[in-house]
Amino acid sequence: MARRAGTLTRIAGGAAAALVAALTLGTLAAVALRADRAPVLGPADWAAIRFTLLQATLSALISVALAIPVARALARRSFPGRSLLVTLLGAPFILPVIVAALGLLAVFGRNGILSQALVWAGFAPVHIYGLHGVVLAHVFFNMPLATRLILQGWLAIPAERFRLAASLGLGPRQVARMLEWPMLRAVVPGAALVIFLICTTSFAVALVLGGGPKGTTVELAIYQAFRFEFDLGKAALLSLIQFAICAVAALAVWGVSLPAGLGGGLDRVVARWGISGAGMRALDALVIVLAALFLLTPLLLIALRGLPGLAALPPSVLAATGRSLAVALGATALTLAMALPLAVLADRAAGWRSGGVEALAALSIAVSPLVIGTGLFILIHPVADPVALALPITALVNALMALPFVYRALAPALAETEASYGRLADSLALTGGARLRHLLLPRLARPLGFSAGLAAALSMGDLGVIALFADPRQVTLPMQMYALMSGYRMQEAAAAALVLLACSLALFWLFDRGGRIRAAT
């Protein structure tokens, strides 16, 4: 039975809901109203739309195709370092895109180790910029995600089924057909859709690796229309197209669960029989080694190339680091300040209202950061200088981007806490601030810590809306790093990347760890 929502719940929850609605739907409306000059989409814009759909489709298909053998190997083999590798598969979620791009350049770029090896062997170096570079980066980010989703599916097959199959003398092929194929058919389309959705809003990857007009996504085209042509009408129209693409993809994904982040539960290995043949073992080992190399080599090269430059980091990088940390912490506080009241409101509200709050919390997945940024620019421009507000706006948009994931982590834990202790708290008149302090915050310490870590790391590494407004003297660390890369100051860029990587991981670790420690006492 739904309890009556208290005054604080209604005010805080209502304010959070209004803010989220204003930032997503409000900015979209501001953009749409601005688009009434009926700009015409040129061939370049159509090319951007086609490229967006093409690269997202390829990225999703390749990620999933590569993930299936990796997930199968992880599901049926236990080896030293397995749980570390599974944890590592969660890391790309909090890995700054620009850092990964630099790492991939170090491997697959013109002067990367792969090209050097090819030249040494008498072949031509590989050319990374363009469609294949964008797809490569997206696979780097999303193959681990797909692996985790599919691994979950594998581990969800009851061990008794495999035992039964073994007792009936079924070979690997029959096991695949009777047990594994039905699971894959249920899990893989969802995983592919999630990745497709993530890739349609790709900005930083296309910015760094797109390599020109032929590799431009819609998100990047918005940025160019805004930043270089200052054609607000065109930016607005592209924003609407982007929203439509995301909305269609999001509707398709609606029934599919999004990744809950780096959650556990993947530590066990399914007991299997009839897989001890030397050929199968070698194949699994090869798959695992290749996947680990693919994920680790770029990061390792960042560390190796960045370390020597750390001592001589330019002051601009240090200042940018400070700004980024401030933005990340601000975004974290804002995300929690939105997610917690929304979760409380959804728990207290009944029926469609509750579902409405949940949909609102998930909405920012479909609204791209650049659309929000463009809308905010249009709204703020008449009253203040948006460039002067670049950092607060970045924090706000970052907070909104993290909101769906943070909400997903908090809402179930909150509902469980209220179900177990809500009546006791009600009977003791534990309401408002006292309920927050003595019931919700202590019981939610763990998901709060995890969410805060996620939000901080995502914001720390984000290269998105800041690119719209950036005042060159007031940039964040990812933006500073991009400037160094554009200027071919690769040594300094690698050092900055190392700092950025360390900050992102440290922020996540500190918050997550803090939550665990609080929860344990």
Binding site: R3, S420, Y421, L424, D426, L428, L430, A434
Partner: protein, 232 residues
């Protein structure tokens, strides 16, 4: 005096009518078949569930507009009576101040409350380090400090063994006598009901019957209660 005035409870297909008064200071077991609505009746008095019709009054005051925490009552649930992340002293202290801003005098009262239920010196512990019986005692210590005139218990000691249960019933009777509290206790065990004594509210066949003398009721149970008790 607790008064249920024309109360009609509707929950899906479930219907329960309650129309009775309970004298101040009375100990009242609530018995009846499972699913008859004993806990729902308590929920209505406690304010967790609004009746479709009728009023719940304490000393003539309509409790309808009051939130659960504002009603002149304390409630002990079957489980989850303590917050696991708070210390025993904090759990008891919530009975004095929901914001846990406790003065020196408050803390002394918490300590003496724990002393009264036989848990002297255990205030610093977490509930998880206590036995089931000790956890029940902590909940009773908080009831003592809240000092509300009405006490509702919903199968409070169901998880305890028979000896421990008898012990807790004796403590409950003693505390009720000290504070003069009116007690409504849901139980499915006739021994608990007889031990509590007083007047029994029988909930059966869609009706919460007016309180009747417990000893007399169990000595000569009506048909519906006999069916529930079984021929023993």
């Amino acid at each position: 005096m607790l008064q249920l005035d024309g109360v009609r409870i509707v929950q899906g297909d479930f219907r329960l009518a309650a129309d009775f008064t309970l004298e101040t200071g009375m100990l009242a077991p609530v018995v009846g078949p499972s699913g008859a609505g004993k806990s729902t009746l308590l929920d209505v008095v406690a304010g967790f569930f609004a009746p479709a019709q009728g009023r719940v009054l304490w000393d003539g005051q309509d409790l309808g507009p009051l939130e659960p925490g504002q009603r002149p009552l304390s409630i002990v649930f079957q489980d989850n009576n303590l917050f696991p992340h708070l210390s025993v002293a904090q759990n008891v202290g919530l009975g004095l101040s929901p914001s846990l801003r406790l003065s020196r005098a408050d803390r002394a009262r918490v300590e003496s409350g724990l002393d009264r239920v036989g848990l002297a010196g255990m205030g610093g512990r977490k509930p998880a380090s206590l036995s089931g019986g000790q956890q029940s005692r902590v909940a009773l210590a908080r009831v003592l400090l809240r000092a509300r005139p009405l006490l509702l218990l919903d199968e409070p000691f169901a998880a305890l063994g028979p000896a421990l249960r008898a012990e807790m019933m004796d403590l409950l009777r003693a505390l009720a006598a000290e504070t003069g509290a009116t007690v409504l206790m849901v139980t499915h065990d006739p021994r608990d009901a007889r031990r509590l004594g007083g007047q029994t509210v029988l909930v059966a066949e869609g009706r919460a019957h007016a309180p009747q003398d417990t000893a007399a009721l169990f000595a000569d149970p009506p048909e519906v209660l006999r069916a529930y008790l079984g021929d023993g």
